[in-house]
């Protein structure tokens, strides 16, 4: 029997963003990462072929996060040294790029100076050949200085910097333009603010083709449904011609999943929920796989087993 032709055509492709610069491009990266360019939702080849596969960035931070022992052990002793941790992510966990969070820069934590943070970025750029995503410490005041220093230290490397919000977009746009980096636009689980930040960036003279959207990530079971739908709506709006939303999307899976009870607590707290050493990475993997279906292009992940399992199905 003849069945309906259900294929659809998009009005606009999602923009394509390349992160990392090779030697001949003024950087020192050994490889680059390209995301975006979609013409349809994931897998729907009868609508058209999406040119780039989603990628996974390895979670690295300058101080050891407040993570359960079994996760720290799964990563290994390298977790205590950001450059070794990054190398292990690339060599053993086979990630496509590295996401570095400079948590220690926060005045409430190690209160590291912006110069020290920048030195760490230089070390990381030497330690790995993959592109970098660079985040501040979460301390708004401090991050202005930290990201400026780090941006300069990585000048020409075409990193992805995080993040521009409604309150700091001017500074972030200026930094990224000056040092030729890509920029993450961030919104707090609110599709309208997500669009607004992009409008502001465009008004500030920043080219939206250099933007990756971050709607904030909710862990599985903690508002996953909100973010899933925001990402799906943003993607559909982009494909239907809303150029403000036609941008690749990022999910910070590791950060959120590893604060949840379900991923970190054993059967003493959650009876009959199964071995947390297996449940934790599966919580991260299922969360990541879910967001991929909503149109995520770039996942930041932490547990090697979760990375391995999700990677297998991206290939």
């Amino acid at each position: 029997m003849k069945i309906p032709d259900v294929g659809t055509t998009c009005k606009m492709n999602i923009s394509t963003v390349t992160i990392g610069a090779l030697k001949e491009e003024g950087g020192t990266r050994g490889r680059k990462v390209t995301i975006g360019g979609e013409c349809t939702l994931p897998h729907l080849t009868f609508d058209g072929d999406n040119p780039h596969k989603p990628v996974i960035a390895g979670y690295v931070s300058d101080i050891v996060p407040d993570w359960p022992d079994f996760l720290q052990k799964a990563i290994g002793k390298e977790i205590h040294s950001p450059d070794e941790w990054a190398q292990k992510c690339v060599e053993d966990f086979k990630v496509d790029l590295i996401s570095i969070k400079l948590l220690g820069g926060s005045s409430e934590r190690a209160n590291r100076s912006p110069e020290d943070c920048a030195k760490l970025i230089e070390t990381l750029l030497k330690a790995v050949e993959v592109p970098l995503i660079i985040w501040g410490s979460g301390d708004m005041e401090k991050d202005r200085l930290i990201l400026q220093e780090c941006s300069q230290a990585a000048r020409g490397e075409n990193c992805l910097l995080g993040s521009a919000t409604e309150s700091n977009y001017m500074t972030m746009a200026a930094i990224c333009k000056a040092d030729k980096h890509k920029l993450i636009s961030e919104a707090p689980v609110d599709i309208n603010i997500g669009k607004q930040v992009n409008i502001l960036l465009e008004d500030a003279g920043f080219n939206l083709d250099d933007v990756v959207m971050f709607q904030t990530t909710a862990a599985l079971g903690y508002g996953f449904d909100y973010v899933y739908t925001i990402m799906e709506r943003a993607r559909i709006a982009g494909l239907q011609g809303d150029k403000l939303m036609a941008r690749p999307q990022l999910c910070d899976i590791g950060e959120e999943v590893w604060r949840t009870k379900e991923a970190t607590m054993g059967e003493d707290i959650l009876p009959r929920w199964g071995d947390v050493k297996k449940r934790g990475p599966m919580w991260e993997a299922v969360c990541a796989q879910g967001y991929l279906q909503a149109g995520a292009d770039l996942l930041i992940m932490a547990h090697p087993e979760a990375i391995r399992t999700v990677r297998k199905f991206i290939a």
Binding site: M1, I3, P4, G221, Y228, G290
Partner: protein, 446 residues
């Protein structure tokens, strides 16, 4: 599907006989379109017109019911491609598959395990909804099915492709209305006959989508309409998503009846980790039922949770009951927080309070399902309302101090609460829940 007056009019006798009480057939048709009259109110309507019209006005995806008595599972009758367009109506059900190589003892253990897989998360029950019993390869199919029907607290799926085995199993447990899983190109006629004879729902598979449409039409022709579309495949989530999206678009957007049924799916893969991740894809992308071979709860729980999330109604604010919650075993010296009744806020706060390992009370104020800042902007929360909630919940009787930790996003309430209530020491908490453990260790730990 809503029919227009004109579409209905074309099916009427068009004699303007007035026997229906309206002056013209057109006037009657308009009443039917407005759902004020039923098509059967026309005394001269032909059988053919009745069936065409009822077909046209029926939902684009069939509702399928499995099970009987208290063990019932419903799937189908979905209306949208994306949850924000309306909602996904019926939660995807996880069926745990008990393979035929289990001994009778292990099989019974498996049934008991499935019965026990019930959990409460975010105040709602999540559980294994179905029990899939593999029939092919067991010595006595009818006996195995009968044991399952007797012990299982959830509806059954009979898994097999051999008509003789399926027939005897189906006969033995037809009263419990199991799903027959599954008809294939090879056994189609025999399986359709079994489903028809015992009036049971049937899952149908086919090598191609075109053939799948042929097969469901064939089943429909003999009167079967409780059908599921079966997809079984290897380790590529894309294959499944292409299948599920094509049939769902066909049914919902193109009104293609042969695909107007829910989907049941199964992955053949190398490990329980792989199966876990693949099933989550299916659960998010239109599967009505997923068959799961692995039985470990660490594999089950993330999938029960993603189903719970994706099938949440996005139009209804998610709320928890406005009352006093105890985290850990708080006593008269424990800290007191207040927060909103928006589920996400409450569960974030509760989760982080739990993580701080300091037992505490959380007083939930009714903010009509809005979070801290939204409820403030929408005038759903005020210092007065907080004071009243603390009073209604008798919080002061629980503790011998008068310290109240308030959300960092609303520090403005401090003065008014201190002035207007017995809570004389208001402490401004952190702006986000995740900062609660370090905050608690600083202000309460020592």
């Amino acid at each position: 599907m809503a029919l227009t007056g004109m579409q209905i009019y074309k099916q009427l006798p068009r004699t303007n006989c007035k026997k229906c009480g309206f002056p013209t057939c057109m006037a009657f048709a308009m009443q039917v379109a407005a759902k004020q009259k039923a098509i059967a109110d026309c005394p001269d309507i032909s059988d053919e017109a009745t069936s065409t019209l009822s077909e046209e006005s029926s939902p684009p995806m069939r509702l399928v019911k499995l099970g009987s008595g208290t063990a019932v599972f419903e799937t189908g009758q979905e209306t949208v491609m994306c949850r924000h367009e309306e909602k996904f109506h019926r939660k995807c059900g996880i069926a745990i598959k008990l393979s035929s190589d289990l001994s009778d003892d292990d099989f019974i253990k498996g049934l008991e395990e499935i019965n026990s897989r019930k959990y409460v998360r975010v105040g709602k029950e999540i559980k294994v909804e179905l029990c899939a019993v593999e029939i092919d390869g067991v010595n006595n199919p009818s006996e195995r099915a009968a044991i399952a029907a007797e012990k299982s607290e959830v509806p059954l799926i009979l898994v097999g492709e051999n008509p003789d085995a399926m027939k005897s199993a189906a006969l033995a447990v037809k009263h419990s209305k199991p799903l027959i899983y599954r008809a294939t190109e090879e056994n189609l006629d025999a399986f359709i006959a079994i489903a028809k004879e015992y009036k049971l729902p049937l899952a149908i598979s086919a090598p191609t989508l075109e053939e799948l449409a042929d097969f469901t039409v064939k089943a429909k022709e003999v009167g079967l309409d409780e059908l599921l579309l079966s997809w079984k495949g290897g380790a590529d989530p894309g294959d499944f998503v292409r299948f599920s999206t094509q049939v769902r678009r066909s049914a919902l957007l193109h009104k293609f009846r042969p695909f107007g049924y829910p989907i049941i799916t199964e992955f053949e893969c190398d490990s329980q980790e792989s199966e876990t991740v693949l099933l989550s894809t299916a659960a998010a992308k239109y599967a009505g039922i997923v068959l799961m071979k692995g039985r470990e709860p660490w594999a089950l729980m993330p999938n029960l949770t993603i189903i719970q999330d994706v099938f949440t109604d996005p139009q209804v604010p998610n709320t928890v009951e406005a009352k006093l919650y105890e985290i850990g075993n708080p006593d008269e010296n424990s800290p007191v927080f207040y927060t909103t009744n928006f589920s996400l806020t409450y569960f974030s706060v509760a989760g982080e309070v739990e993580r701080s390992k300091i037992p505490a009370y959380i007083s939930v104020v009714d903010t009509e399902g809005l979070g801290v800042l939204n409820s403030w902007a929408g005038d759903k929360i005020s210092a007065e309302k907080v004071i009243q909630a603390l009073k209604d919940q008798n919080v002061a009787e629980k503790v011998n101090h008068r310290k109240l930790i308030i959300p960092g996003l609303l520090p403005v309430f401090r003065a008014e609460i201190e002035d207007q209530s017995e809570w004389k020491e208001v402490i401004i908490g952190p702006e986000t829940a995740k900062e609660i453990p370090s905050f608690m260790n600083k202000i309460w730990g020592k």
